[in-house]
Symmetry: C2
Subunit: 278 residues, 2 copies
């Protein structure tokens, strides 16, 4: 690993740009290659075998472009393809689920409850519940299929989104309580959800004030923290070093640029189109 | 064409089941083969070339299974791949856009305005505006990206969906008026939207009563009517004949069955998995 690492970030789309955003803040002394497999999203409806094949194709692309480390900034691929990637890779591979579970553990006491908000596919994999269980935490996983389209519509501060959040939180807390789980932490288990954190905090404070305070964590930030921790012994921050970013997408560069900047929090300068197959 | 025709229906997913539902009512004396290319949806984010290739692969599958006629029950494929399909096909091919525009013409006077509600991809193709223009109608196309996920969440009669519909209708009518278009007809240009017709009619009547009455039409029903009209000379209805349906999907049979029955309005008995390539 060189003093200035090259880090490959892989996602099925542009949601993983929230992971890159956190990395740019925490690990600025690096070169980044971001690959969004936008032509083949969503991964959530595909079989484990297909997702593993797509993920390994992306790994090969990132390795060929000099990546010395791969961050799987896609919850579905982290849940279903991490073993295949780790076996196939010549470089270290990190997913978003284990860092998310570790962050939940750090903010909890053993036996505490965690409410995981995620897509249907991630919930169906139960990857968060398993990861939380290995850290002594009981997780209740709630699928929130409307949140991704609401974020993509740009309604991150809209009354409709507040109402949807209220419905999901109210159902989730009731079902968690019925299962004997009292969440002290909400873990945002989808790369789109960090854009909703201010709204979720507002809804929690206003409509769920009777519950004991609940802290919101997100896997995107937790993953960037894990990368920073892994790099810190070998790559001390070079003062004044600016990160560089290369963006690749398998389809629709324009949409990637337009929506991507919201997730990255800065303009996505240039997106190059690549073809990984049909 | 035999007296009892075999009709192939192609969609990227299960939304096209609303077209099959209308066909089962209007053309019961037929055998149906439905192919949902669920492994490769959504088509909306893909290039025209890719969509044409996928659509022709589906055409070949349907032809090989005895289809004597193909209905493209997918707005994106109808907008972007109909020419490629017509060139490649040995059987008649009908999309959903021209029947939708014809239905709008039948319920309008020349020069009348039509409001088309559709997905972002369909709106970006402007296929409805072009088809309406050939019939002397001025169309305003409004992308409604939240309606598909709301239908798939099952919130077809939910206050959140009413609020979303109110936002979209209010923006669309204001923008149409600013463009000098006064819609007398709303054309539902997405196969998911017929499930929202009762809600949309309620919202229109309650919140947009000051506007002159607006009739809602949907492309799914209009397409089934066009198939019935094309068949009527050659295939008189055999009294007592029951339709048969075969369902094929390229991924996730379980989700197809679960969600599909809502669109079809009856249980989706059995779904067979097929592989059309990655």
């Amino acid at each position: 690993m060189s003093a200035r690492p090259t880090i490959g970030i892989f996602d099925s789309g542009f949601g993983g740009l929230t992971v890159l955003r956190a990395l740019l803040e925490l690990v600025p002394h690096a070169d980044y290659i971001y690959l969004g497999d936008t032509a083949r999203l969503p991964y959530g409806s595909k079989s484990q075998q297909t997702i593993a094949r797509y993920a390994v194709e992306s790994l090969r692309f990132l390795e060929a472009h000099g990546a010395e480390r791969m961050v799987v900034a896609c919850n579905t691929a982290s849940a279903l393809a991490l073993d295949a990637l780790t076996s196939a890779a010549r470089i270290p591979v990190l997913g978003v689920i284990e860092p998310g579970a570790q962050a939940a553990r750090r903010s909890s006491s053993p036996g505490d409850g965690v409410l995981v908000l995620a897509t249907e596919a991630t919930v169906a994999s139960h990857a968060y519940a398993r990861a939380c269980a290995t850290h002594g935490l009981r997780a209740f996983e709630m699928p929130c299929p409307l949140l991704v389209p609401l974020v993509e519509e740009g309604w991150t501060d809209h009354p409709v989104t507040e109402q949807v959040a209220r419905v999901y939180l109210s159902e989730a807390l009731a079902q968690a309580n019925a299962a004997g789980i009292t969440p002290r932490t909400i873990l945002l288990g989808c790369t789109h959800y960090p854009l909703l954190q201010p709204l979720l905090e507002r809804v929690l404070a206003r409509d769920f004030a009777a519950s004991s305070p609940i802290r919101i964590l997100d896997s995107a930030r937790a993953t960037a923290e894990a990368v920073a921790a892994a790099l810190s012994p070998s790559a001390p921050s070079a003062p004044g070093a600016e990160p560089s970013c290369l963006f690749f997408a398998t389809d629709s560069e324009a949409k990637f640029q337009r929506l991507g900047s919201r997730f990255l929090g800065r303009p996505v300068a240039e997106v190059r189109h690549i073809d990984l197959g049909g």
